[in-house]
Amino acid sequence: MRNRVREQRTQRGLSQAELAAAVGVSRQTVISIESGRYLPSLPLAFTIARFFDLTVDKMFDPDDGEEGA
């Protein structure tokens, strides 16, 4: 599953640590989500999408074919 977390974060000039603090997870988890190694839970996916003023389906693309953790 592809996501636009890194793209949105860099567009807003945020560091991974700043995004992590804003959505209530660790910096390591942000790194894992951005690299596609970890699929966030539905509540966390909503939190991230809302933080960037996007919908979940705009933030996370399930049609990419690759399965995450």
């Binding site: 910096r27 390591q28 970890y38 966390l44």
Partner: protein
């Protein structure tokens, strides 16, 4: 009780408690090996301090040691514990089987461990909702008499 302790102190506190109990067991046992309890206390103190210091680091291990793990870190921890339990169950089964084959009297701890892991698994299924199938709604109770594929 744990809520009264700051998150970073929780794991070191549990570790220290376990170490003190272990040391006390050696002390109560007495005999020429009483000094093991002193070594256990020293080892526990060193380990608890190391755990506390690790709890302050910006790593996955630090988050777990500091009791501030997020959902991914909790999932990793959960999977690790599940793997450990699987290994305990398999090892105890092998030990029990060998003990039976060689007519040994030391097989009962393997049996106890195997029963505990097995019962723990069933307890988990019950506690975490596998048995709660819920009640069917209207579509499943009457209105839909035939299988959609028939």
């Amino acid at each position: 009780m744990m809520t009264f302790i700051t998150p970073r102190l929780r794991k070191p506190a549990v570790y220290a408690l376990a170490g003190v109990l272990f040391a006390a067991a050696w002390l109560v046992r007495g005999g020429p090996l009483w000094w093991v309890s002193i070594m256990a206390v020293i080892g526990t103190a060193v380990g608890a301090v190391r755990l506390y210091r690790q709890g302050g680091t910006d790593t996955d291990e630090g988050a777990r040691a500091g009791s501030r793990a997020d959902e991914r870190q909790q999932l990793i921890s959960l999977r690790s514990r599940a793997l450990a339990c699987n290994l305990a169950a398999v090892t105890s089964f092998i030990g029990l089987t060998v003990a039976i084959a060689v007519k040994a009297t030391w097989g009962w701890p393997f049996l106890v461990t195997f029963l505990i892991t097995g019962y723990g698994y069933l307890l988990g299924l019950g506690n975490y909702g596998v048995a709660e199938e819920g009640t069917p709604d209207d579509a499943d109770t009457g209105r839909q008499k035939h299988s959609p594929v028939s």
